[in-house]
Every structure is written in structure tokens, then in C-alpha cells.
């Protein structure tokens, strides 16, 4: 099946810094990607999505970049806050979600 994976298992940043979480995918036919955030004891929560006709999409404090040439996604979080501490997944939602293993973001006060 599709392989959606993440480069780093844990990312530790200082409060107020920007965070960048990376994700690679292998299926060149993938045309839609979603970033989810999962806090401890909760279900995944939608953050932002991007379709393959775009290479950048911005939300509130978050930006997703898509590089189709190298099959790479990144999630950038500006001015990271303690409430951003969670595990972040990228996912390919075609028919059913394929999750990567996740990157745990730890925000140091």
C-alpha cells in the first residue's frame, strides 16, 4: 500500500520558535494530503490540508509546503506554543487514511 512516513520521531523546540515537521510519501499518484495533530488521550484532529495543484497553503500559524518533485511535505508552525505539544501525522486520505508513525513535538517553556 501507500507509504507515508516521517523523518523524525521527536522534535523539541523552545516556546516562541518556529517548528518544522517533515513527511515523505512514495506514491506519485497521491494528490491530497492532510496534517493531523493528536494530543494525549484524544483522537487525531485536522490541522490543514493541501491538494497537489498547490505547493503551499497557509492557515492560522501553520503552513504546509508540498514538493511533488521529491515527494515531500512539511508542516511549519509559527511561534510554537506549549499547546502545540502533540504528535503530528501526515496522511493520504484517498479512500482510507494511511498514517505515518508521527512526530512528537515537545515545546519547552
Amino acid at each position: 500500500g501507500e507509504n507515508v512516513g516521517l523523518h523524525l520521531p521527536t522534535l523539541s523546540v523552545q516556546e516562541g520558535d518556529n517548528s518544522i515537521i517533515n513527511c515523505a510519501y512514495s506514491n506519485s499518484a497521491s494528490d491530497y494530503f492532510i496534517w493531523y495533530k493528536q494530543e494525549s488521550g484524544k483522537g487525531p484532529q485536522f490541522i490543514i490540508d493541501i491538494r497537489s495543484n498547490m505547493d503551499k497553503r497557509q492557515g492560522q500559524r501553520v503552513t504546509v509546503l508540498l514538493n511533488k518533485t521529491v515527494k515531500h511535505l512539511s508542516l511549519q508552525i509559527a511561534a510554537t506554543q506549549p499547546g502545540d505539544s502533540a504528535v503530528y501525522f501526515c496522511a493520504d486520505p484517498r479512500r482510507a487514511l494511511t498514517f505515518g508513525s508521527g512526530t512528537r513535538l515537545q515545546v519547552q517553556p
Binding site: 483522537g43 486520505p93 479512500r95 482510507a96 487514511l97 498514517f99 508513525s101
Partner: protein, 114 residues
């Protein structure tokens, strides 16, 4: 904002017993999903359901598992004869008119098999 709700939040069951996990998807959604997450591991797809039938299932979803939409609001996952390795968080999700949209997740049911 509409939510996916799951009950119970924690279910403890003896090995070999049947268990039913319940979900109420968002009311106008048409696509429904179950996932599981073993402690410390990634979220794994189990099954998707549309138009009153299974549209896709993973190899985890064997004959011990079944899903049902018994009425207009509930979506259930049944495990017939539970095993110790079924212990996990089970998440229900739904999406709207098009499956190629973000899925909305419930907060899960923690299933503990003794």
C-alpha cells in the same frame, strides 16, 4: 462545531467475550471509518463504510470484526471473541459528501482485554 462521539470511553472485557464499540458520526456525513491505535504505535486503518456496506477493509479486519449502522445515527464495531492483542484505542471517524476530505475523529474508546 459538530463532533463524532464514541461510547464508552473505556471498555474492560474478558478475553473471549464479545464487545461492541459505539460511535455517532456527524449527522450529515456519509462515509464512516474505524481505526485502532495500539499503545505507543501509529493509527491503523480497519474499515471504511459507505452506503450501508463495507467499501474497504484492512488485513487487521478479519472475521472476528464486523460493522453495522443499525439506525440513522449509530455506527458500531463488534469484536466477536476478543483476544489480548485487541487491547487498543479504537477511533471512529466520518467524512461528508466526498471521501476525499478531512476525516473527523472521535476521542476513541480504550479497549482493555483481560
Amino acid at each position: 462545531e459538530p463532533e463524532v462521539t464514541q461510547t464508552p470511553s473505556h471498555q474492560v472485557t474478558q478475553m473471549g467475550q464479545e464487545v461492541i464499540l459505539r460511535c455517532v458520526p456527524i449527522s450529515n456525513h456519509l462515509y464512516f471509518y474505524w481505526y485502532r491505535q495500539i499503545l505507543g504505535q501509529k493509527v491503523e486503518f480497519l474499515v471504511s463504510f459507505y452506503n450501508n456496506e463495507i467499501s474497504e477493509k484492512s488485513e487487521i479486519f478479519d472475521d472476528q470484526f464486523s460493522v453495522e449502522r443499525p439506525d440513522g445515527s449509530n455506527f458500531t464495531l463488534k469484536i466477536r471473541s476478543t483476544k489480548l492483542e485487541d487491547s487498543a484505542m479504537y477511533f471512529c471517524a466520518s467524512t461528508g459528501q466526498d471521501s476525499n476530505q478531512p476525516q473527523h475523529f472521535g476521542d476513541g474508546t480504550r479497549l482493555s482485554i483481560l
